[in-house]
C-alpha cells in the first residue's frame, strides 16, 4: 500500500510509535517551512517539519517501514532545534514527536555510532563526576545541596569549567555539590527517551529545591520533566534576582568604549521555554547589544548533532559566522554549552577577532572590572 491508497475508511491500524494526539495536531499548513534551518538549506519539503511529520505518519501507518532510508536520514538530519514550534499556530509539539521518532528508530543498533560514546559517558553520574575531576569547576565534593543549586552539566563541567565558577562568583548562595549527574537531554534527543527522563528525575533528587542551569538545552529538558517552577536558566534566574534596572540608571551608563556584544540564542531555551528577552536585557547592561539577523536560529551545535553530522552542522553555522564577521562584534555571548563549543570552533576556523563568552562569564567579568575602578 502507498500513502495515496490510505483513506479514512481503509486506514490500517496505527502501530503505536507516536502519541496519536501529538501526531494528529499538524494540519499541514506549511507555516513552519521558513523557520526550519534544514528546509532553508535544501528547499526540499522532505527536510521540513511538515515533511517530517508526513514521514512520521507514514511510519505510524506502516506505509513506510522502519528501515526506510529517507525516514532514517530525516530523523537524523533534523537539528531538533524546535524553531518550528513557536511559529506553529496549531500548536504541534514537534520536539516531543522527534523524541518519540528517534526513540523508535534508534533504540538498539540503528543509533548513529558516533553518539554512542557520548551517551555512555553521560549515562552514569559516576562517570560524569570523573570527567569533571580533571577540571576546576565550581563543584565541591563535600557540599550539601541548598535551596538553590547550580547544575554543573556533564560536558560543560569538562569543557567550560569557568562558567560554573563565574556563576558561583556572581551568586554565592548557589550550592554546587559534585554529586550530580547528567540531565538526560542527550539521551532523550538521541533515542533513549525513558533513560533521559529517568536521569532528569535522578538529578532532581540529587539537587532538591531550585535548579539553576547555565545550559539552555539542559534547562528545557529538565523543566520538561521536573517543571518550570523548579528549573531556572541562569540568565532568567539572575535577572529575577537582580530585578529591573531603573531607566535613569540605565541612561547614566557610559556609552563610549562599550563592547559590541551579540547573542546566540539557545534553541530549546527560546523555542522550548520561551526565554530570550532575559539574556538580551542582561547584555545591554554591560555593553552595546547587537541583534544579529540569525540570533534566534540554530547555530548547528544542536546537542550531539555537531558530532554526528559535522558537515551539515558547519553549513548551518556558516551564516552565523558571516553575520558575526559583518557586525564586527567584540563578543558573541552564549547561553548553552553546545553553542559555546560550536561558535568557538567556527570563530577560530574563520580567524575572527570576536570572543565567544558565556553570559555568566560576561557578567562576572563586568563585575570584576567595575570593582577594580
Amino acid at each position: 500500500m502507498t500513502a495515496a491508497d490510505v483513506t479514512p475508511e481503509n486506514a490500517p491500524e496505527s502501530r503505536g510509535v507516536f502519541t496519536p494526539e501529538l501526531l494528529g495536531r499538524c494540519i499541514s499548513c506549511g507555516f513552519c517551512l521558513p523557520a526550519c534551518p534544514t528546509y532553508e538549506l535544501t528547499g526540499v519539503e522532505t527536510s521540513s517539519p511538515r515533511g517530517r511529520i508526513n514521514l512520521m505518519r507514514a511510519l505510524e501507518m506502516g506505509v513506510l517501514p522502519d528501515d526506510d532510508p529517507t525516514v532514517n536520514e530525516e530523523a537524523s538530519f533534523c537539528l531538533g532545534c524546535r524553531a518550528c514550534e513557536p511559529v506553529c499556530p496549531a500548536g504541534v509539539q514537534y520536539g516531543e514527536l522527534l523524541e518519540e521518532w528517534r526513540d523508535h528508530l534508534w533504540n538498539g543498533r540503528r543509533r548513529p555510532w558516533k553518539v554512542r560514546p557520548l551517551l555512555w559517558a553521560a549515562d552514569s553520574p559516576r562517570r560524569v563526576r570523573a570527567m569533571g575531576l580533571v577540571r576546576r569547576h565550581a563543584g565541591r565534593a563535600s557540599e550539601a545541596p541548598g535551596p538553590v543549586n547550580l547544575m554543573l552539566g556533564c560536558f560543560e563541567r569538562v569543557l567550560y569549567p569557568r562558567v560554573s565558577r563565574d556563576a558561583r562568583k556572581l551568586a554565592a548562595e548557589l550550592a554546587v555539590p559534585t554529586a550530580q549527574g547528567c540531565c538526560g537531554a542527550l539521551h532523550a534527543h538521541n533515542g533513549e527517551l525513558e533513560r533521559g527522563n529517568q536521569l532528569a528525575r535522578e538529578l532532581g533528587e540529587a539537587l532538591p529545591g531550585t535548579i539553576v542551569t547555565t545550559s539552555g538545552g539542559c534547562g528545557a529538558h529538565l523543566a520538561g520533566v521536573l517543571g518550570t517552577e523548579r528549573v531556572k536558566e541562569f540568565s532568567q534566574w539572575w535577572l529575577a534576582r537582580e530585578g529591573s534596572v531603573p531607566e535613569a540608571t540605565a541612561a547614566e551608563r557610559r556609552v563610549d568604549g562599550r563592547l559590541r556584544i551579540g547573542l546566540q540564542d539557545s534553541c530549546h531555551l527560546r523555542n522550548g521555554l520561551g526565554i530570550w528577552r532575559e539574556p538580551r536585557e542582561l547584555i545591554a547592561r554591560v555593553g552595546e547589544y547587537v541583534e544579529l539577523p540569525s540570533a534566534a536560529a540554530c547555530c548547528g551545535a544542536a546537542g550531539s548533532y555537531a558530532v554526528v553530522r559535522p558537515k551539515d552542522s558547519a553549513r548551518v553555522l556558516d551564516r552565523h559566522l558571516d553575520e558575526i564577521a559583518d557586525a564586527d562584534l567584540d563578543v558573541i555571548a552564549v547561553v548553552n554549552a553546545g553553542c559555546y563549543r560550536q561558535l568557538q570552533q567556527g570563530v577560530k576556523r574563520r580567524k575572527l577577532r570576536t570572543r565567544v563568552i558565556h553570559i555568566a562569564e560576561l557578567l562576572a567579568g563586568e563585575r570584576d572590572r567595575a570593582a577594580a575602578i
Partner: protein, 463 residues
C-alpha cells in the same frame, strides 16, 4: 497513476534534464509531496523534480508531454483546494529553486521575479525601496509568488488594493508542450493579443508553468492605523461592515472573526483578545495620517451605531501587527480545537454578508457541526471552517452536506464558491453549478488549446 511502462526511463531522463541531485524518487520523498495544505486529499507522485531555469522546466514538460506523464507544478504547497496534490501520479514540478528577485524598480514601479520567491521576500524587497506589493495572503511567509499568481491569491488588503491579478503586468510561461511564451511585460498599457497573463493568473497550474513574473508595485503608504471592535454576534459585525462601506470610507482592512475563532486565535497568540465576545472586527486604513485618523473615527462610529460592545484604536503599529498576525493564523489555530478542520471560502457581495453569516450558523446547527467563521469581511470573502471531531464517524459527511448547502446559498446570493482558494480537486464538482454547462465547456476547450494531451495538473480546473 501513469502506467509503469510509461515511466520506464523516467528517472534517467529527468536526471539528464535537471541534474541528478535535483530529482527525488525515493518513497519517503514521494510521501512528503503527496499532499499540500488541503485536508483529506492525497496522491503519490512518481517523481519530484526541482528545475533551476525556464529551459529546464521546458525540458521536463516536453518530455512529459511526449510520454503522457502528468505534471503538477508546486511552490511551497500551501494550497487549500488540493491544487498541488498529484492525485493522478506523475511528476511534481517544484519551483522553489527559481527564487531570485531579479529587479525592483522604483523608477518604473515594477518588480521582476522568479516564481519560487516567497511573497514576503518580494514584499520586503519592495519595501526596501519605499514600495508596496499589496497582495498579502495569510500564508505570505511561506507561499511563493508563482503560487500566488497561479491561484490569484487575495489577502487582507484586497478590499482597497485588489488581488494578485491586479498586479500582474507580465508573465513568462512554459506551455505543456514545451514552448516558452511571454505575455505582457513592463507596460501599463499593452493590448497586443488576448490577455493571457490574466488568463494564467488564477489558472491553478492547469494551462502553463509560470517561470517569471513582472509585477506592478505602488508607493508605500506613509502610515497605517488599525482599530478593533467587539460585537455580541457575527451578524452585528457584518451589519457594521456594510455601514462602514456605506460611510464613504474604503478601508485597507476589514477582517472579522466569530467567537470560535477568537478563542482559538487567542489560545495561540495570547495577545489579550476578549474571548467572551461574539465577534471581533478588525478595521484599518493606510495613507495620509490625517485621513487615517478621520477614517478610523468614522469606522469606529459605524461600529458603535451597530451595537459594538467596545471599540478601540490600536495605539501603535506593533500592537496592530500583533492582531493582524493573529488573524492570519486563524485557520491553523482552529485546529487547536480539533485536528480535522474543513475550510471553505464562499464569497458573497458585500451587502449580503449578514444574510450569509446567518445562513452559515443555521446550517451548522442543523447539521450538528461546530463551524468557526472568519474572513475578509470587506470583500464578502468568508472562511467558514468546520472543526470536526475525529471520533465522530460521519462528521466529514455532515460537513460536506453542510458545505453543499453553503455553496448553493452563495450562488443564490450572486456569490461564488471560492473567493481566493481556487477550485483544485476539492470544488471541481460545484463549478458547473455556478458557471453553467456552456461556460464549463468553454473552459475545457481553452484547456485543450493549451494542453492538447492533458498532462498539466489533470483532473482539476478545465478537466
Amino acid at each position: 497513476m501513469a502506467a509503469t511502462a510509461t515511466l520506464t526511463g523516467l528517472r534517467a531522463r529527468l536526471d539528464e534534464i535537471v541534474g541528478r541531485g535535483h530529482v527525488r524518487t525515493d518513497e519517503g520523498a514521494l510521501v512528503t509531496f503527496s499532499t499540500d495544505a488541503t485536508p483529506l486529499e492525497r496522491g503519490r507522485p512518481d517523481a519530484v523534480v526541482f528545475p533551476a531555469s525556464t529551459e529546464e522546466v521546458a525540458g521536463v514538460l516536453r518530455f512529459a508531454n511526449e510520454r503522457g506523464v502528468p505534471v503538477v507544478p508546486r511552490g511551497s504547497g500551501t494550497n487549500l483546494s488540493a491544487g498541488t496534490v498529484p492525485h493522478r501520479g506523475g511528476i511534481v514540478l517544484v519551483l522553489t529553486r527559481m527564487n531570485r528577485v531579479k529587479e525592483v524598480s522604483d523608477a518604473e514601479l515594477v518588480a521582476v521575479c522568479e516564481p519560487g520567491v516567497r511573497t514576503i521576500e518580494l514584499a520586503q524587497a519592495a519595501a526596501a525601496k519605499g514600495l508596496l506589493f499589496p497582495p498579502d495572503p495569510g500564508s505570505q511567509t511561506t507561499a511563493t509568488v508563482g503560487g500566488n499568481v497561479a491561484e490569484c491569491a487575495g489577502g487582507l488588503r484586497a478590499l482597497k488594493y485588489g488581488v494578485t491579478r491586479d498586479y500582474v503586468l507580465g508573465v513568462q510561461a512554459v506551455l505543456p508542450t514545451g514552448e516558452i511564451i511571454r505575455s505582457g511585460g513592463r507596460l501599463v498599457k499593452d493590448v497586443a493579443g488576448y490577455d493571457l497573463r490574466r488568463l494564467l493568473c488564477g489558472s491553478e497550474g492547469t494551462l502553463a508553468v509560470i517561470t517569471e513574473v513582472t509585477l506592478r508595485l505602488v508607493p508605500a503608504p506613509e502610515a497605517s492605523g488599525y482599530g478593533m471592535a467587539y460585537f455580541p454576534d457575527l451578524a452585528a459585525a457584518a451589519r457594521a461592515v456594510s455601514r462602514v462601506l456605506a460611510s464613504g470610507v474604503l478601508p485597507v482592512t476589514l477582517e472579522f472573526l466569530d467567537q470560535v475563532c477568537i478563542g482559538a486565535v487567542e489560545d495561540y497568540a495570547q495577545i489579550g483578545l476578549d474571548t467572551s465576545a461574539g465577534a471581533l472586527l478588525i478595521f484599518g486604513q493606510d495613507g495620509n495620517p490625517v485621513v487615517i485618523e478621520r477614517d478610523l473615527e468614522r469606522m469606529a462610529q459605524a461600529c458603535t451605531s451597530e451595537g459594538a460592545t467596545s471599540v478601540r484604536i490600536a495605539e501603535s503599529p506593533e500592537a496592530a501587527s500583533e492582531v493582524l498576525h493573529a488573524r492570519r493564523a486563524a485557520l491553523p489555530a482552529l485546529s487547536r480545537l480539533e485536528p480535522l478542520t474543513l475550510l471553505e471560502d464562499a464569497t458573497v457581495p458585500r451587502s449580503r454578508i449578514a444574510e450569509m453569516v446567518d445562513f452559515i450558523q443555521e446550517v451548522a446547527q442543523r447539521h450538528q457541526l461546530k463551524i468557526g467563521t472568519f474572513g475578509h469581511a470587506g470583500d464578502g470573502n468568508l472562511h467558514p471552517t468546520a472543526v470536526l471531531d475525529a471520533a465522530d464517524p460521519d462528521a466529514v459527511q455532515r460537513a460536506r452536506a453542510a458545505f453543499d448547502e453553503i455553496f448553493a446559498r452563495a450562488i443564490e446570493l450572486d456569490g461564488t464558491i471560492t473567493g481566493e482558494h481556487g477550485i483544485g480537486i476539492a470544488k471541481l464538482r460545484y463549478l458547473e453549478r455556478q458557471l453553467g454547462a456552456d461556460h464549463v465547456a468553454l473552459l475545457r476547450r481553452i484547456k485543450a488549446a493549451f494542453d492538447p494531451n492533458g498532462i498539466l495538473n489533470p483532473g482539476k480546473l478545465g478537466s
